[in-house]
Symmetry: C2
DNA sequence: ACAAAAGTGTTTTCTATACACCCATGG
DNA sequence: CCATGGGTGTATAGAAAACACTTTTGT
């Protein structure tokens, strides 16, 4: 058999949501190739760790991120995608709550920074393509899986959810219809807590009930916006 | 840096449709591990070929299949999935028209055979899991992308399409509503040819118009069953 | 003439959408 | 008392679902 000399890496597109904007976590590369260019966090898989472990380790090492939701996106394997030689990369797609931890750069990264998705810098390797695919996946997925909650605080006012959806889908949503639909799915618990945003009527807080969601999903009830 | 010793393979779940049954193409392994057990066709990626090239090469080598539709499914990377050591496998999912070529076993395969998806043998490695994921993906995908046509002859009677959908979705479909919906999508050309199935009224033949589909898709019209 | 599969419209039900006013609080 | 964001119901239109008989061929 021919000796195979392919290296395997993982990359993670991590989305966060704050102040009505969707952001992506990028690192500035400390080493060649693409030294001092921005890139998606990631790195080589170790011999005895699973792919998910590799992603979480690399994220922790390079950025300090605590991931909240992680799913495999796609595997990129064009022979020419990395100038160092053949590197196949398994890309993941993650969601976090940016306000629950502090990001810091280390190991291969000289900087870490949140970039809103309409103000992205030039990226290394084929990371532009990976990022575009991730954004499409996120936009698609929130319409049929309740992953939007992973971007919000555990307890959130309904208006936060609405704003998240208008932002992600890029269109206005009728507040009454949206509320009717989401509450009709029966996966949100209304809490006996209110929060005020400075002015205006205080909003009731809601919480996603994952247990009930899985129960309903098992019964064949589908989440759809 | 630690020396990485991970091998990379591709596997392909290939579906075919004949006589009202969905089948999967499996090979009997000629070598250890899992010698003489059934498995999904696949093998190691060469250093300078793309992942898709690797899949098509392995399929050609092991089974003689000419693939009609191919998409990446998922990458399986559990450290323990292969007894030979660390092997990460990128699984693909393919559709073919079984009556357009002849299958034959060679290289790593001692036999090749179509198995209907309700009469599957025991499988090697984690191929059972891969196959289950593929079936789910196929079932899901035919409801929002017109890939069902890739399993039928280029020219087909409408009843074939209907039967394919009832088979895949596992439920009855109202003939009139289904026809109304599909023809309303405007991606099928009705030909001036008829075909008779022995008894009964001869059926008109239809053909999928991919060009028109891509045109409509670009305009934002979505295929949905 | 009858068996077997193809082809065809209308009615009903449900779901999605459009739409505007009152409520609770802070300043 | 006014500015600000939160909360609520109904009417209409469009889409999905239910439903049965006629047509064309082979035997």
């Amino acid at each position: 058999m021919i000796k195979q000399s392919i290296k395997l890496s993982v990359d993670a597109v991590v989305f966060g949501y704050e102040e009505g904007k969707i952001s992506v976590l990028l690192i500035k590369r400390k080493y060649e190739p693409f030294k001092d260019k921005w890139a998606i966090p990631g790195g080589f898989v170790l011999n005895d760790e699973s792919l998910e472990e590799a992603v979480e380790r690399e994220l922790q090492e390079e950025t300090g991120v605590k991931i909240n939701y992680l799913e495999q996106l796609y595997t990129f394997g064009e022979p020419s995608r990395d100038p160092r030689g053949r590197v196949v990369s398994i890309a993941y797609f993650g969601l976090v709550r940016p306000n629950t931890f502090k990001i810091f750069a280390s190991t291969d990264a000289s900087e870490v920074q949140w970039f809103t998705i309409d103000e992205l810098p030039e990226l290394s390797f084929d990371h532009q393509e990976i990022l575009e695919m991730s954004i499409k996946r996120l936009q698609g997925k929130i319409t049929y899986e309740p992953i939007g909650f992973e971007l919000l605080d555990k307890k959130f006012p309904f208006s936060d959810l609405e704003k998240l959806y208008t932002t992600l889908l890029g269109r206005e949503i009728d507040r009454r219809n949206f509320r009717k639909k989401i509450l009709g799915l029966n996966v949100l618990d209304e809490l006996d807590e209110k929060v005020s945003k400075g002015s205006g009527r205080p909003a009731n807080l809601f919480q996603f009930n994952q247990k009930r969601y899985f129960q309903l999903k098992k019964e064949g009830i589908i989440f759809e916006i």
